[in-house]
């Protein structure tokens, strides 16, 4: 994976940490994610997807 600042190609601005709503299996919660401060385009890293997000998904599937 590349390093450095992640930029929204549409708006040409760097992403900033912004609260974002995620939902699954009838539950929802807000977390801070890198997002474009103009259009809201989000980035979720593979590390997060395979780690905490996977855990949360599995917990919610059993609720």
């Amino acid at each position: 994976m590349e390093s450095g600042e992640l930029v929204c190609c549409k708006c040409g601005v760097p992403l900033a940490s912004i609260k974002s709503k995620l939902s699954y299996m009838g539950f929802s919660a807000s977390y801070e994610f890198p997002r474009c401060p103009v259009c809201g385009q989000i980035f979720i890293s593979e590390e997060l997807v395979k780690g905490k997000m996977k855990e949360l998904e599995m917990t919610l599937e059993d609720k």
């Binding site: 590349e2 450095g4 930029v7 949360l56």
Partner: protein, 682 residues
């Protein structure tokens, strides 16, 4: 399926107790051990096991209604085996433990008293048997031939029992225990006697006073003679015994082992999951319910059908709408593809036979279907062809509506084709169609191919046939495949027990680590190269580096060596193969070349594992490109973007090439992102 149904299943579980055949036996014969000895040809040992339990084997064989047979999963003729063993007088087994210093008066000359006296005597207690008649046995002399009774009673002469005929016990004070009569002329009497003997022993050892129960006697009745076996027939019959063990479900089920669940715990957890109370309890067995591969190999001796329990539980959860769609999306989409305009095909008109190769056979290698179809037409004359999905993914998902709709669509074709016999290639299709389209008469492709000419390709090579889980009850199919392999010149080594390759039941999406474990253990369950007749097994084995061919490779062009080395096709290739197959059989144009998408081998393996298709990747990239919704690191030509597709969000990292794309990475998640401009952003 409700929590209460699970509780009922729990009652059936015999774990921790005797097997159902033994539990059903009034005399607690260890039926499995008895049959096992006959299986081994050791009739002497078999007789000993039986004789020790029943004491009077020929009398019991004549009277016993064999309730064990009703509980035998192999439908063995157990009574006939008993009769075979005792067609000649018994071995006159006499147990002789060292003499003890206490004496029992048995004042009962009937079967009950005789059994009690004999067992006590075997265990070393001094016994005097008082019979009111001229000889012990009571009413049994009126029921059975004298010769038969005498041969069983010969054991009394060899025992240490003192028999006093025409006598009562005049001096009870001389004895440590006095056993009074039961008036049963039946094996119920023997049972009572044995039970009483145990109770008396306990009393004698502990100084306790036993209480006699009055268990209902089993009515004395001579049973009609059973089938008469000779040694070869008896041994062949015994071979049918599965040798049930009450931990078979755990032993045979990698899922139970993986989650560390005993059946007792599963019943509790599945019941709790179906009766979940929102906010109070959890769907504690959700993962187990949805990761069962529905292979049916659990083989419970008590007849508990775990496969049905899990399938019905899925249906119940599906109906509540609480089933995670991501568990089944991939396979339901695959089913949709097989039933789509691009792949579905009903070819030909009314005919005696219709070939139903299943949607995965042509997806793996289109030639499997065309070669087999060509042979079928030569062998059977007019044969129609139906390229479709058998509906297994809908069954796996618990989606009854989708299963019914598919059944209706397939049945309409079948009716249009003139109610033909259906030739199936895939054992899983055979199993699914038997459930879903019970009016179809199905025959396995391999039973037909076993008698048709084909090239010799084996050249003495040693291989092992791998039987897929769905073929468990398909004995003729198993034999046909072996016949084909042998005739083709392969040398067959012992096969591993039939097993699941992990493909069934959507396990991959629910418990990928469990899938890995099952796939790996099945692929390498034999050290020899494998011949399979389930193409999913073949491709999963190939994906793990196991050399494996499908039996239909022997009917296709090319050397077996090439077939053994053929890699498993990717998800995208599978769908494209289906389309190519249809195009080859019709005037439909072949699918045009997709936009170039470069994917490294390592990354392709990752996509395979994560159930991501090349088409989904391309959709995501194209969506990013057309909308401009993509990210990149400053100065890099790698773009990052995502797209929600059904129940998953797919992320791609890619480069734009001339006329296509290069995929650098991809991953997916199930959680839904609230897209658009979030609150607080200008």
């Amino acid at each position: 399926m409700r929590a209460s149904d699970i509780a009922a299943l729990r009652q059936q579980c015999t774990r921790g107790g005797p097997l159902p055949c033994t539990a059903a036996c009034p005399l607690n014969v260890d039926v499995r051990a008895f049959i096992e000895k006959i299986k081994q040809g050791d009739i002497q040992k078999a007789r000993l096991i039986y004789e020790r339990a029943v004491l009077f084997p020929r009398i019991v064989a004549a009277l016993c209604p064999a309730p064990c047979e009703a509980f035998c999963r192999s439908a063995l003729k157990i009574r006939a085996l008993e009769s075979f063993c005792f067609s000649e007088p018994s071995g006159e087994h006499v147990g002789r433990m060292p003499a003890r210093n206490k004496k029992v008066a048995v004042v009962d000359g009937g079967l009950s008293g005789l059994a009690c006296a004999l067992r006590l005597s075997e265990h070393g207690w001094g016994v005097e048997l008082f019979s009111s008649g001229e000889r012990p046995g009571g009413g049994i002399w009126e029921l059975l031939p004298q010769e038969l009774i005498l041969s069983d009673f010969a054991v009394l002469d060899k025992s240490r029992i003192v028999v006093r005929n025409n006598a009562g016990c005049q001096n009870p004070e001389d004895f440590d225990y006095v056993y009074l009569p039961h008036e049963d002329v039946s094996i119920g009497g023997i049972r009572n006697g044995l039970r009483d003997a145990e109770a008396i022993e306990k009393a004698l050892k502990l100084g306790d006073q036993p209480k006699f129960d009055s268990a209902a006697a089993i009515a004395a009745r001579i049973m009609p003679p059973p089938e008469v076996f000779d040694l070869a027939e008896a041994t062949a019959e015994a071979q049918k015994c599965r040798g049930c063990k009450c931990n078979d479900c755990i032993r045979n089920c990698v899922m139970m082992q993986y989650f560390g669940r005993t059946p007792e715990k599963l019943f509790v957890d599945v019941g709790g999951t179906l009766g979940v109370v929102k906010g109070v309890s959890k769907r504690i067995a959700q993962k187990q319910i949805f990761s069962c591969n529905l292979c049916g190999l659990c083989d419970c001796p008590a007849g508990i059908d775990f496969q049905k329990m899990f399938a019905d539980s899925r249906r119940a959860i599906f109906e509540t709408g609480r089933m995670p769609q991501a568990y089944h999306q991939f396979w339901m989409e695959d089913m949709e593809h097989a039933m789509s305009e691009n792949a579905f095909l009903a070819l030909g008109g009314p005919a005696g036979y219709m070939f139903f190769p299943g949607c995965q056979l042509g997806a793996s290698r289109p030639e499997y279907v065309t070669a087999a179809y060509g042979i079928l037409k030569k062998e059977l004359g007019e044969v129609s062809l139906l390229l479709a999905c058998c509906g297994a993914p809908a069954y796996w998902a618990g989606n009854v509506k989708a299963e019914q709709e598919l059944a209706a669509r397939l049945s309409e074709v079948w009716r249009d084709m003139g109610h033909p016999k259906v030739v199936t290639a895939c054992p899983s299709c055979g199993k699914q169609l038997a459930k879903m389209c019970p009016e179809w008469e199905c025959v396995s492709l391999y039973e037909i191919l076993a008698n048709s000419p084909f090239a010799e390709k084996g050249q003495g090579m040693q291989v092992a046939v791998f039987d897929p889980c769905a073929a468990k009850e398909m004995q003729e199919v198993k034999e046909s495949v072996r016949k084909i392999a042998r005739r083709s010149g392969f040398s067959l080594m012992p096969s591993p027990r039939e097993n699941c390759c992990g493909n069934g039941g959507h396990m991959r999406a629910v418990a990928p680590e469990l899938f890995d474990q099952i796939a790996e253990s099945s692929a390498f369950s034999s050290k020899e190269d494998a011949i399979t007749y389930c193409v999913n097994c073949r491709d999963i084995f190939a994906s793990r580096g196991k050399r494996a061919i499908h039996i239909l490779d022997l009917f296709c062009e090319g050397s077996p060596e090439n077939a053994f080395c053929r890699p498993a096709p990717s998800w995208g290739e599978r769908r494209r193969n289906r389309e190519l197959l249809k195009a080859g059989l019709t005037d439909m144009p072949a699918p045009h070349g997709a936009i170039k998408l470069l994917i490294s081998g390592e990354l392709m393996a990752k996509l395979q594992n994560e159930l991501l298709t090349e088409q989904e990747i391309l959709n995501t990239i194209q969506s990013c490109e057309s909308s401009g919704d993509k990210l990149s690191y400053a100065g890099s030509d790698v773009y990052i973007g995502h797209m929600r597709q059904g129940a998953i969000t797919i992320w791609v990292e890619y480069r734009v090439l001339d006329g296509g794309y290069e995929l650098r990475n991809a991953y997916s998640h199930r959680m839904i992102i609230a897209e658009g401009v979030p609150d607080g952003v200008r």
